[in-house]
């Protein structure tokens, strides 16, 4: 391959601004003396601009899709790569849903659903954590005195007074959050430790100002390193 060809093939990355310095300088020197490359550069720029116009804007996730992921996680299917149940009926309804959702609303809805997803599913699905570890806070006798925590997403219309009332009722206080997606961590009062954490969660869930309430795993529980079995992630 000639030197000219080698330079010519670098042009797209001159356009996207990622060429490293010695290479960029050499290319620019070559461009100064090569009409073909200058034309090709112009074409690359038109291509970049044309693509930006031609491709659709990035879609936002729809809650229905995220809810499905939650289900997947909860039913322990997250590891499976089966497509049968998702490639058919699974995908289409939500696609039409997000398409029919006004774009401005999509991100908001998506962010809320994401908070739900995260609070509901991923926490419980952390690999390597046994049931014993997961339930330690709630049921194990020798559990440390750390206060049980609950992850909560409040309804967007809930007022400060309503939230305050609820927290007092539940004998809980906010110890963390809001997360970027709007979830708060609540610490339950010492009297609420152990078995009664479940009843506090029931109380929270029954409240219309609460979108979601889920136990947080014992932060002191040892966590095994995440499984990295998938070949998908082995490479940098």
């Amino acid at each position: 391959m000639s030197e000219h060809d080698r330079f010519e093939r670098l042009l797209p990355w001159l356009v996207n601004g990622t060429l490293g310095d010695p290479e960029r300088r050499q290319l620019e020197e070559h461009l100064a003396s090569c009409l073909d490359c200058r034309e090709a550069l112009e074409e690359c720029r038109r291509l970049a601009a044309g693509l930006a116009r031609a491709e659709p804007p990035e879609p936002a996730p729809h809650p229905a899709q995220l809810a499905r992921l939650v289900e997947r996680i909860r039913s322990g299917e997250a590891d499976r790569e089966t497509a049968e149940d998702r490639s058919g009926l699974g995908g289409r309804p939500s696609r039409h849903l997000w398409r029919s959702t006004p774009r401005a609303a999509r991100w908001l809805v998506g962010a809320q659903a994401a908070a739900l997803l995260l609070a509901l599913g991923l926490l419980a699905e952390r690999p390597g954590e046994t049931d014993a570890a997961r339930f330690r806070t709630l049921s194990t006798a020798e559990a440390p005195a750390a206060r049980a925590q609950v992850r909560v997403v409040f309804a967007p219309e809930a007022s400060e007074a309503e939230i305050r009332h609820l927290l007092l009722q539940a004998r809980a206080e906010i110890v963390g959050g809001p997360s970027p997606l709007g979830a708060y961590a609540l610490a339950l009062g010492p009297a609420s430790a152990g078995e009664s954490a479940a009843s506090v969660i029931d109380l929270l869930r029954a409240d219309p100002h609460v979108r979601l309430a889920e136990p947080v795993e014992d932060p002191l529980a040892p966590s095994a390193p995440p499984a990295s079995s998938a070949a998908d992630v082995a490479r940098p």
């Binding site: 797209p12 038109r46 990035e58 790569e81 490639s87 699905e125 998908d232 940098p236």
Partner: protein, 188 residues
């Protein structure tokens, strides 16, 4: 609070910090949706690809070794998830011989603006007809702004392969680009 760097976030995710994962989620989900949609042209697969990718990021955060940028690592995962999802179906480019990507494909898209833009439609169609590995290089270069060594890391191929794929992609897309303003595309 300042925006933590990606590398900080993934280290915290590896430590099991859910809030850090949420931040990553907020940072990457839309990019991943765009990536998966443009790469596969199969909207029904996009949810699955993005979900699988995010789950893999959550689970395998500890295996991120910092030798590449985090975005490169995440796109690498997404790429493999996308290829796997496509592999379970018939590859779209295998059907390219049956004719151009239907215009309905574009009509379904949410933004009606480019529906009226003939050049954009033509270009979109041409991109859809590229083999997936060439479309990937176009996507990572022009939409995600990756350098060619980064793309080589995502795809796990030599840098010269990246350059060659881009070279062929450009040659095919050239026909869809107007040379001067409203010029008709070259035949073929």
């Amino acid at each position: 609070m300042a925006n933590p760097r990606d590398e900080e976030l993934i280290a915290r995710v590896a430590g099991g910090e859910l809030a850090a994962f949420e931040e990553l989620y907020a940072r990457y989900t839309r990019k991943l949706f765009g990536f998966a949609l443009r790469l596969t042209r199969a909207p029904e697969l996009v949810d699955e690809i993005v979900n699988d990718t995010l789950l893999a990021v959550w689970r395998s955060a500890a295996s991120f070794d910092g030798r590449s940028k985090l975005s490169t690592w995440i796109f690498g995962i997404a790429y493999r998830k996308a290829m796997r999802a496509l592999g379970r179906r018939r590859l779209p480019e295998a059907d390219a011989s049956e004719g151009p990507v239907p215009v309905a494909d574009a009509r379904e898209l949410p933004d009606a603006v480019f529906e009226r833009d003939e050049m954009a439609l033509r270009l979109r169609r041409a991109v859809g007809e590229l083999p997936a590995e060439q479309r990937l290089v176009v996507e990572l270069t022009f939409f995600q702004g990756l350098s060619y060594p980064e793309i080589a890391a995502v795809v796990d191929c030599p840098v010269n392969t990246v350059k060659t794929r881009m070279f062929h992609a450009r040659r095919k897309l050239r026909a869809a680009l107007p040379r001067f303003g409203l010029d008709r595309p070259a035949a073929g």
